[in-house]
């Protein structure tokens, strides 16, 4: 990690769901920091990784409840903000990209109108300025024919194109932190890498922080600087991405071992035995 103060610092975050059978803890007291870097959160379904991303933005919906000793962003304490004050951060300074552009874009609005709406919410621009700004934004996410994309409806775009549009929209207010929840999981492998290169460039050129939530350990280990491994609501290991092959926690090692590899031979894959002791984070 860099010596500069972290952008985001989360302490003792807990997310509880009240169910008929009593409260269930989806996230059980996790703490982490994100600087101007790429931090990955990896875990399987139900590990609490997506909830963690939503909690930072105050987007955990009832019956879920999130509480934290502290969520500091820059010099603001997000846990003390009212819903109204929180809206100044959401989207403007912390943005979020979700998994599937099909569900995050409005199907009956052209892309141009949706981007214009985002621009209008975050600043006062004339319609000529909006037009010019929209084109520039789409060029920044490597779309070659922005005019045509602006005139299109979401169903006329491929998945990769839709995700580029989503990322472009999120970047309108120049956020300092981007939370990306499985941003490339719905995309083809070759398209996936294009989208990652765009995100990578944003971290490098704009000094943005990126919290990258994914189930794909191989992708995270090659893309991120640091990886937080979540298992059943806890961060069980925090490790520099390049050190993942030497991971110490049995869960992390198990996750790596169960992936098929090209040239790995046809021998049965390792499976996870899920010991109760795995819930204990590494010291």
């Amino acid at each position: 990690m860099s010596a500069s103060p972290p952008l985001l610092s989360v302490e003792d975050l807990r997310i509880t769901f009240d169910t008929r059978r009593g409260p269930v803890e989806a996230v059980r007291g996790i703490s982490f920091k994100v600087g101007r870097e790429r931090v990955g959160i990896v875990g399987e379904s139900g590990s609490g990784k997506s909830m963690t991303g939503r909690a930072v933005l105050g987007l955990v919906r009832p019956p879920g409840r999130s509480q934290a000793r502290s969520i500091r962003f820059g010099d603001a304490e997000l846990t003390r903000l009212s819903e109204r004050e929180m809206r100044k951060f959401r989207g403007a300074r912390i943005a979020m990209v979700m998994q599937d552009p099909k569900y995050s874009l409005n199907p009956v609005m052209t892309v141009g109108r949706q981007i214009a709406e985002a621009l209008r919410v975050h600043g006062r621009l004339s319609s000529t300025e909006i037009r010019a700004c929209s084109v520039r934004m789409l060029e920044e996410v490597a779309i070659r024919d922005p005019e045509r994309v602006l005139a299109s409806h979401p169903h006329e775009l491929s998945g990769g194109m839709g995700q580029r549009v989503m990322i472009a929209m999120m970047l309108v207010p120049e956020p300092e932190l981007l939370i990306a929840d499985e941003p490339t999981s719905a995309l083809d492998v070759t398209v996936q890498l294009d989208v990652l290169r765009i995100l990578d460039g944003l971290v490098r050129n704009r000094g943005m922080g990126l919290l990258f939530i994914s189930h794909d350990l191989r992708l995270v280990s090659t893309f991120c600087d640091r990886v937080l491994v979540m298992y059943r609501g806890r961060i069980v290991e925090e490790i520099a991405a390049q050190d993942l092959p030497q991971a110490r926690h049995p869960y992390t090692r198990g996750l790596l071992a169960c992936l098929p590899r090209i040239g790995g031979g046809g021998a049965p894959l390792a499976t996870l035995s899920r010991e109760p002791s795995w819930e204990t984070p590494l010291p």
């Binding site: 194109m161 083809d188 492998v189 070759t190 890498l193 765009i198 992708l219 090659t222 169960c258």
Partner: protein, 268 residues
């Protein structure tokens, strides 16, 4: 092509073309694809979305129109009355949440095909197939929402196996599952193939999964064949098409410092 050769391939697909037409547009989802799969082998179709890989599976079992070319099973074209054919060729779908009836118990899901195909001793067969896929008797009267994703996919595999087929058509059977559950399901499929002498035709976008599961594979793009490879040549990276090489690179994850993406044309 003589159907009377001594040992015909279990699956033979020759110049298969599937064309969808509508609103004045004509799309060749599969365009002149040929391959053969010998008995008890496992063959993979790999490609990205829109490559036509799933459409081939659907065309084989009659869920997509065969516009041109032939599909032969053991040297014979699928018969018109397809019941006997359906018993022998079964499909496992990608999404275990969508492919099971939400209000049918596991028992009903597994008994129905037996009834349709006129099997006797259904009760014994249902419990046998459940144990084949590693589910205990306690799962028999559960509904899909009471099962995890991995358990549902086991039920879907059991449903395919219960009619004692020779061929399983596997359409991305693990891509909706967590990595550790994927490993369990792939191990299960390999064991079942060995024990029951099954022939697999498996579709995946994941080159590593196909490499792990299949003896040979066909790389596809935009409905056309790119190249056919053996597992050995894939393992040694002995590939000839640039597209296959791009898939291989992509399967290794992200590489920092790789050239920035070129601006892409708006294709769709």
């Amino acid at each position: 092509m003589s159907a009377a050769s001594p040992s015909p391939p279990r699956i033979e697909v020759r110049d298969l073309t599937v064309v969808f037409e509508g609103r004045g547009r004509r799309v060749a989802a599969v365009d002149g694809v040929s391959f053969t799969v010998p008995p008890r082998q496992s063959f993979g179709l790999v490609g990205e979305s829109g490559s036509g890989k799933s459409t081939i599976l659907r065309a084989i079992c009659g869920l997509a129109p065969v516009t041109g070319g032939t599909v032969r099973i053991d040297g014979e074209a699928p018969p018109a009355g397809r019941l006997a054919f359906a018993r022998r060729v079964q499909m496992v779908f990608q999404d275990p949440y969508g492919s099971l009836h939400p209000r049918h118990t596991v028992d009903r899901v597994l008994s129905e095909p037996l009834q349709i195909h006129g099997f006797k001793d259904r009760d014994a067969r249902v419990s046998a197939v459940l144990s084949d896929v590693g589910l205990g008797p306690e799962f028999r009267f559960r509904l899909p929402h009471q099962l995890s994703g991995g358990q549902r996919q086991r039920v879907a595999i059991a449903r395919a196996l219960v009619t004692e087929p020779d061929i399983l058509l596997l359409d991305e059977p693990t891509s909706a599952l967590d990595a550790s559950i994927q490993a369990e399901i792939l191990n299960l499929l390999n064991r079942l193939r060995r024990e029951k002498g099954l022939t697999f035709l498996m579709v995946s976008h994941d080159l590593a999964v196909i490499d792990h599961m299949c003896d040979r594979l066909l790389v596809m793009q935009n409905g056309r064949m790119v190249e056919e490879l053996s597992r050995t040549s894939l393992d040694s990276r002995a590939v000839s098409a640039d597209y296959t090489r791009a898939l291989l690179v992509a399967s290794e994850g992200f590489r920092r410092g790789a050239p920035a993406p070129e601006a892409v044309p708006v294709s769709r």
